[in-house]
Each structure stands twice: as structure tokens, then as C-alpha cells.
Amino acid sequence: MFQLYLPIAEVSVNAFLLLGIGGIVGFLSGMFGVGGGFLITPFLLFIGIPPGVAVATGANQVVASSISGVLAQLKRKAVDFRMGLVLLIGGLIGSWAGVRVFSWMTALGQVDLFVQLSYVLFLGLIGGMMFFESARAILRSRRHGGAPPIRRAHIHTWVHGLPFKMKFRASGLYISVLPPLAVGALVGFLAGIMGVGGGFILVPAMIYVLGMPTKVVIGTSLFQIIFVTGFTTVVHAVNSHTVDMMLALLLIIGGVIGAQLGTMAGTRLKAEQLRILLAAMVLAVAIKIAFDLLLQPSELFSVTPMALP
């Protein structure tokens, strides 16, 4: 019952399954400030959606859950618009390049491998780094008998010595625009090739590279993700006709509701706790995909229909 035929993916799936996937991913998205694309794409592949459609439609879903999340953060004034715009400029350039590379890899037949390797590499690296850092932070706060450690407004790194400085008031930063531009471009690139908003890379980069306070990171990350994934959606729609509106709609309905609940849940947790949970989740996805690459698959052959000329 409630099977739904998807016009672009050309498969029939259960409508509640899609609502459920959207809901879970939306919840995590609202809680951690990540778009959740790195979860939704593997989920969709698992239920039999073709890779191209999964990546493009995943991006469309991330737009919706991010908008829902940003509106929730906006009420808490936790969005740094100026930082968001700088990240965005980098993001659009990266996204355009990413979609081009994606089309090229699809033609070569190596897109699965490419996407999987990107996942393992980026998720593993970021997840591992975040996990150790937040574990250390939690241990430190325990050792101090529950008393919070002395906090500086932000951490000073090499990044703060670069030229073209700009003031980011909401974040309390005065830094060069180059690092946010570069971070944005990298994230946009990943958005194009992996169908992800790149929140899982953006959030830690904003905390550790740019030194932004955790409370504005989530809102700002979501703000920039809206535009990067929005752009990616349109580019995929035009280049490869792989955005499935019917699929997106169901994921979105689940996703936006989940995102609101996730934001509420997120406010109950401490920053370190949020970070270690996100890190654990990111690592789990990386390890799962790494195993898929390392273990012998039960079916060595795959069949890819080509469009009729």
C-alpha cells in the first residue's frame, strides 16, 4: 500500500518510507546544523534510487530542511549573514566545478567509486578530527570538576594573519576573507559531486579554521547550505534532468518537520556534546562506506541502462 511511482527515478517506492527517511535526516539536520545530505544520499541508494537521481534530489531536500533550520536559528539571532555571504561566493564557484566533475565521472563509469572515496576521505578525516577534539573538551571539563574552562572569544590560528581583513560582527571576528572563500569553495565542490550541502565539513571548518563561536556556526552553516544546494539542484536539473520532484516532495515533508524537532532537541545539549555526537555519526557513515569498498561485493557485475538517443 501507499506505493508511489517516481516519474524521474522510474521506480516505485513506499511513500511512508520516504517520509521516514526525510524525517530522520531532517531531525539530525536541525540538531547539528548539517544539511544531512551525507546521510540521505546513501539512504536513497540503499532503497534502489539510481545514483544520479539520489544525488540531485538529495540536494533539493537539503534546501528545504536548511530553510526550516535557518528560520528556527534566526529567532535566536544565531546567523552571521556577512560570513554566510562570503562562504556563499566561494560555494557557488565550487559547486559549479563539482557538478562538472560529476558529469565527467558519470561518463567514465567511475562515479560510484568517486563518490564513495570522497565520502570515506572527507567524512573519515573530519569525523576523526572532531571526535578527538570534542572528546578532549569533554574530558577537560570533567577534570575541572564541572567548572567551565576559561573561554576566549575565539581561538587564534595562522588564519588570522592573512590580508583582506573584514569584520564579522555576529561571530565577533576580524579576519581575512580568503579562508572563508576557500572553505566555501571546497564545500560547494562537495555539494556538486556528493549531493551534500557540506555542513559536516563546514561546521568543523568554521569552528576550527575560522574560529567562530559554536552558537552562530549552525545557523550560518545552514544559511550558506541553502544557496549552495539550491544552486546545485538547478544545475543538476538543467544538466542531467535528474531532480525528481515527487521524491523530493516526500523527503521534504518529512525533513522540515524533523528539522524543527531536531532544533528543539539541539538546544538541550551542550556544544561539546553536540560536536561529539555529530562526529560519531559522520565516522559511522565513513566506516560503513569504507567496508563496502574493501569487502568483496556479492555481485561483481552491475547493469547501467543508457538513455535512448
Binding site: 511511482y5 516519474p7 516505485s12 531532480v243 561485493p297 557485475f301
Partner: protein, 255 residues
């Protein structure tokens, strides 16, 4: 005079060809399938009768074979190999055309009711239906690749052999149900019916089922391909609207 004689001979030739004088008269429960949003597969009833001028000949019994073939597409079959510690797509062959769906239903064991030469001639069983499309031998062992195609598509029910699933009453009336799966692709589905005796095909008939997306499915598909930019923007607008609506809805709830 000679000309007229030849013409008369030609007119009579068809009936002379099927010496047993047995012909198929057939019907389909539907000759079009509309894929709508709640499409969940479709069952097609294929039925018919054997028309004959004289009583059925004694000897080998009459048998019926029915095939349903979905539109063919070119495809790439790839094989993963162990390279540098990970499994990657290493070799591939391109098949010019392979049916997206292929079902064979028979009234008896296929190897008993159809000789191999007749099978080859009419390309009835799956082996011949695929081999017929000639896999270009780009990689060594193209045979292994087409075997994999058959295996994968048989596993997901796209290719089926249903022996003994055609009901035949008194060598005259026959019927079978063929379930078309939910993941159909659009196009003309070819239904072929054969009657055989002693492994030899006596008559065959062909019909088409038109499978089309309909309603919203059709509209979305057409728009995605003809107005991709607008389609992308509408997808975005939908996402924005849903995101805002959820946010606004929850604000109301919390009040």
C-alpha cells in the same frame, strides 16, 4: 493466363503454409497501461483461441508459448575487480539493445515443446532474445557479462520464464496472466503468441501494449526534460515553501 495462375497460387499460399490449418485468434485485457502516481504494477490477461477448419490432428499435442517484451535500451555492464586494495569498476561491455522486460509463459516445459532451431528462428527464449542483440566484445568473455545481465534481471523479476503457466483447454482456448512490475519504463511492450506441435511453430501472432506515464507523472517528466531550468526553480520554490511552512507551523504550535 500464366500471370493469373501465379496470382491465385500466391493468394492461396498463406493457408497452404500452415498445413495443419491452425491459427491464433487472440485478445488482451488491455492494450494500454497508464503509469500514474500510485502505479504499483499491472496484470495483463492474454487470452485466445485456436481456429481450425478441420478437427485437430492426432499425434503430438498442441502447445502455446507467449512472450512479453519491454522496450530495449542500450546498456553498459560493468565488472568490479580488486584493484589496489579496493573494489572498483574495472572492465565493461556495451550492449546495443537489451529488453528492459522479458517474460516467457508456456503451456509445458519449454525444451519439450520447442525445438532449438525453431527457438533460434523466432528468438523465443531469453538466451536468444539477448544474444540476438549482439554484445560487442569489448572485453574478454562477453559471454560472462551477458550471463550476469540475465542473472541480475532474473533476480529482480525483469526477466522471467514461467513454464506451464499458460492454461490450455481442449487444445483450443488458452489464457495467461502476466504481471508487469512497478518499475516499468515507458514504451511499446510487444506480446507474441506461438502455437506449436512437435516442437514446430504452426502460427504466431503479435500485439502491442502501450505503456505511458499519465497525469502528473507525465507532466513532471515532460517538464523536467523540456523546461529543465523552470523545473529546477519550481523544485526550489517547493523546498522553500515547505521549509517556511514547517517553521511557521511549529511557531504556531508552540504558542
Amino acid at each position: 493466363m500464366m500471370k493469373r495462375a501465379a496470382l491465385i497460387a500466391m493468394l492461396f499460399l498463406p493457408s497452404a503454409a500452415c498445413a495443419a490449418g491452425e491459427e491464433i485468434v487472440s485478445g488482451l485485457s488491455q492494450n494500454r497501461v497508464a503509469i500514474t502516481a500510485n502505479f504499483d504494477g499491472s496484470e495483463i490477461l492474454i487470452y485466445g483461441a485456436v481456429k481450425r477448419d478441420s478437427p485437430a490432428p492426432k499425434g503430438a499435442p498442441l502447445e502455446v508459448i507467449i512472450t512479453v517484451e519491454g522496450p530495449s535500451t542500450p546498456l553498459v555492464i560493468r565488472r568490479k575487480e580488486y584493484v589496489a586494495g579496493i573494489w572498483v569498476n574495472a572492465s565493461a561491455i556495451t550492449v546495443d539493445a537489451a529488453p528492459s522486460f522479458y517474460a516467457v509463459a508456456t503451456s509445458g516445459p519449454i525444451d519439450k515443446i520447442l525445438t532449438r532451431t525453431e527457438d533460434l528462428r523466432f528468438k523465443i527464449t531469453l538466451d536468444h532474445a539477448i544474444r540476438a542483440i549482439g554484445a560487442a566484445s569489448e572485453a574478454q568473455g562477453a559471454e560472462e557479462f551477458t550471463a550476469a545481465l540475465r542473472r541480475i534481471r532474473s533476480d529482480d523479476q525483469s526477466y522471467r520464464l514461467m513454464q506451464g503457466r499458460v492454461q490450455l483447454v481442449q487444445e483450443t482456448l488458452f489464457r495467461t496472466d502476466i504481471a508487469l512490475p512497478a518499475n516499468l519504463i515507458e514504451g511499446a511492450y510487444k506480446v507474441r503468441m506461438f502455437i506449436t506441435r512437435d516442437g514446430r511453430v504452426l502460427d504466431q501472432e503479435e500485439r502491442l501494449i502501450d505503456v505511458r506515464k499519465a497525469g502528473l507523472e507525465r507532466a513532471l517528466y515532460v517538464m523536467a526534460h523540456e523546461q529543465p531550468f523552470l523545473y529546477g526553480l519550481i523544485s526550489l520554490a517547493l523546498a522553500a515553501l515547505a521549509g517556511w511552512a514547517a517553521s511557521a507551523g511549529f511557531r504556531l504550535l508552540r504558542r
